[in-house]
Amino acid sequence: MSEARSEQRGLRVRGLRVSTSAGVPVVDGVDLSVPGGTVLGLVGESGSGKTTVGTALLGGTRRGLEIVGGSVLLEGTDLVTLSETELRGWRGSRVTYVPQDPTTALDPAMRVGNQVREVLDCHDYGSGPHDRARRVSEAFEEVGLPTDDAFTRRYPHQLSGGQQQRVCIAVAFATWPALVVLDEPTTGLDVTTQALVLDTVRRLTRQHGCAALYISHDLAVVSAISDEVAVLYAGSVVEQAATDELVRRPRHPYTSRLVAAVPDLSGDRELKGIPGGAPSPSTRPSGCRFAPRCELVVPECTTELPELRLVADGHHARCIRSADVTPAHVRERRRIDEIDSAPLLSIHGLTARYGRTPVLHGLSLDVPRGTCVALLGESGSGKTTLARTIAGLHTDAEGELHFGGNRLPFGAHQRDRETRASIAYIFQNPYSSLNPRRTVGDSIGRPLRVLRGVRGAELERRVGDMLERVYLSAAYAQRYPDQLSGGERQRVAVARALISEPTLLVCDEITSALDVSVQANLVGLIEKFRQDLGLTLLFVTHDIALVRNVAQQVAVLQEGAIVEDASTEQLFHHPSHDYTKELLKTTPRLVS
């Protein structure tokens, strides 16, 4: 079946344009071609228009947007010209979609087997009920799930996140589609599960001979699955090439900087952010969109939008200076100083629980003064609970905390003013950690007001200083959080944490809501503060590649216990615990 159809399969997108109803272009002339049986990775940061491209390939748009030009050719049909009724016949059968979050994509009240069956029934698959039942169990088998009734009769909540996503993939591949659009399908999954899902998608694409578009913000993930990669910036493709070629020899400055911003698991590359931020659809500059942030910019760049042209065999780039683009800088392997300082924070036999559910089990850890200790763990490992306990936000705990040699009580209220000022906490989500009704200056100045009693002109001066130290201007003090980008908000959160001059900074997944280029900038900022101020950092994260680039010591947390605690060098060269080994093996790398 698959062999016969793969001949004519493949997607060709020409000049796709999507605009808001006000006429602001969001996607501006995107050309893509995906041969049958291959995966094209579409990489872009927030606001690049990648999800808009993805939905446009299914002939749809979000509310407020419309497809205003171009063609989406699949099996000889232009999907853009189809009516809504005709499109319904295509969607779910010829063109399918795997969403980011399987928990909201699956119907919680329908058995998973029926969810696959539903799409077959809906499109009159095969010759009858028997045929469809067989296809359902085939589909489950293809994605590596059990095919027995006991499994297919389960409800979504009875499956793990990875299994749920594989059910979504089974639904997408059930009807032998010609095109599968996958929109960040592994974002919510742990790396080990992610590796499984990526494998499944790659294998099925080959097996079915269909075209797959894999949308992601994560270049490392995309490079692990894609045959070719297209890089989207501000609504247009700036570079497209075979994956390996694109990563090793980028020909567009943005791609080159994006590669440099991805944390490298081998630690050979310097982690470097991109200055500035991506323009929003209404503020895109004329000429090359990347020109304002580009190091190679020449006057011609700002006058005319460069064409996407062939720069090497099968390699397209939209840059007039593509010959001068250098690959990401390779640095000397970073030497990490031996850790010999006394612990600033020590934790002994810490047990924490929520009600009756224990989350941490007798955990012990030392955080040496002036170092960055990474706390690595996947969701549910208890890492946030540990961070919150240290910050005095979680009090349902037993055990001992010592800070600077003194016993540290659990609740923030029981700690003296000096201790509260000395331990600062930065939250994961910059969109909920700043009070939307307070100005940035008010939020930043609050710890000084509350903990140090600073007021008036002195307070204003110190807030202004602090803003400049996180590379925002003092004028930001008057703004409200919703006038700031995610990266700017997180820098405000850093400023708020550091203004009371703490000695210990607890960072709880502070970059997980940010784009990689912004993440690299923020990590650089935190590292600068550590060196300048002698800060001690507890860096909570799930990203092992990021750990390599920020930490001197790593504690690996699994199910509420520390399974490995070693220096970064040792952990990456001689991992001792199976879990660490598994993580190192399954984390996608940019260059294999």
């Binding site: 927030s46 947007l65 936000l393 700043l434 903990l451 919703d482 006038q483 809501a513």
Partner: protein
């Protein structure tokens, strides 16, 4: 368009470029029904406030025979005692407005206080307050009001207290949910980690972030207050002086002569109706604007 983050965050990302979203009030005014409602409300309030100063006759003076629609020197005729209907109408709005305004302010105020206390305590205080409101919620507002007024002497103060007491538990329920939602946000935790006490957090972090639902709730309670106060006036329970003009009372006094002299009933009915519709439209407009914050995304 967003990456790792769920909906609201993605929305926020896109809102960034547009600058700060305009305040709820301004967004509400952009909704057609708010403007229409506001115009109607202002009209009725103007009649009630300016009325006593422009009334052609006195509130209590007799100008003709009872129930005479076309009595000489009157616009809308006379009522059941022979007093000028138009003048009594112009005098009779203040009591309804003042009483319902007071009921709203007090009822919403008490409800909000309970909500802030209960929604951010996570102890038995929350349980105690909310179970008490549950008990109070079991009584319909009007029954509760009648019960109170049967026990205490009907005075304007008693009316305000009983109607406000009817509002408070309902407001508390709604606002507690709003407070609970905000209490889970990270900026509240950030304030906690600074060691701030509960009341500064309640006033500095929680209250400013529940103003949206608070405005909707206030508008809604104002509407109910008008209906309740007018209703109690109709039953003669508003505790006013015997011959004082009051829209609710006017309807009751003159209902028997409706076929002969409809104006004495129609005028207050229309006024109360318009006021209810007007305040309701405003409340609805604010609610739509508040709920529509996520709708301005998309571009």
């Amino acid at each position: 368009m967003s990456v790792a983050e769920p909906g609201p965050i993605g929305n926020a990302i896109e809102r960034v470029s547009g600058g700060q979203a305009p305040g709820l009030l301004r967004r509400s005014l952009a909704v057609g029904r708010t403007r229409a409602g506001l115009m109607i409300t202002v009209l009725v309030v103007a009649v009630a406030v300016v009325g006593p100063f422009v009334a052609p006759a006195s509130e209590t003076g007799f100008v003709g025979a009872p129930y005479t629609p076309d009595a000489a020197g009157t616009v809308f005729g006379t009522d059941y005692l022979g007093r000028d209907v138009w003048s009594r109408f112009l005098y009779g709005g203040v009591s309804v407005l003042a009483l319902s305004g007071l009921c709203t302010v007090i009822g919403v105020g008490v409800g909000l206080l309970v909500a802030l206390l209960a929604g951010y305590s996570r102890t038995w205080v929350d349980e105690l307050l909310m179970r008490t409101t549950d008990v109070l919620l079991a009584f319909p507002a009007i029954v509760l009001a009648l019960l109170f007024l049967a026990v205490f002497e009907p005075q304007p103060a008693t009316v305000v207290a009983t109607v406000a007491a009817g509002h408070a538990p309902r407001v508390a329920r709604v606002m507690r949910a709003a407070v609970l939602d905000v209490a889970g946000r990270d900026y509240v935790r950030a304030a906690e980690s600074m060691g701030l006490r509960r009341w500064p957090i309640r006033l500095g972090d929680l209250l400013p972030n529940v103003t949206g639902p608070l405005m909707v709730e206030t508008g809604l309670r104002l509407t109910y207050s008008v209906a309740l106060v007018a209703g109690l006036g109709f039953l003669g329970l508003s505790g006013l002086e015997a011959d004082q003009a009051d829209w609710g009372l006017m309807i009751n006094e003159n209902r028997l002569g409706f076929t002969v002299q409809p104006w004495a009933v129609l005028l207050p009915v229309i006024a109360i109706g318009l006021l209810t519709v007007g305040t309701n439209l405003v409340a609805d407009g604010i609610a739509r604007a508040a709920a529509g914050t996520d709708r301005e995304v998309g571009g």
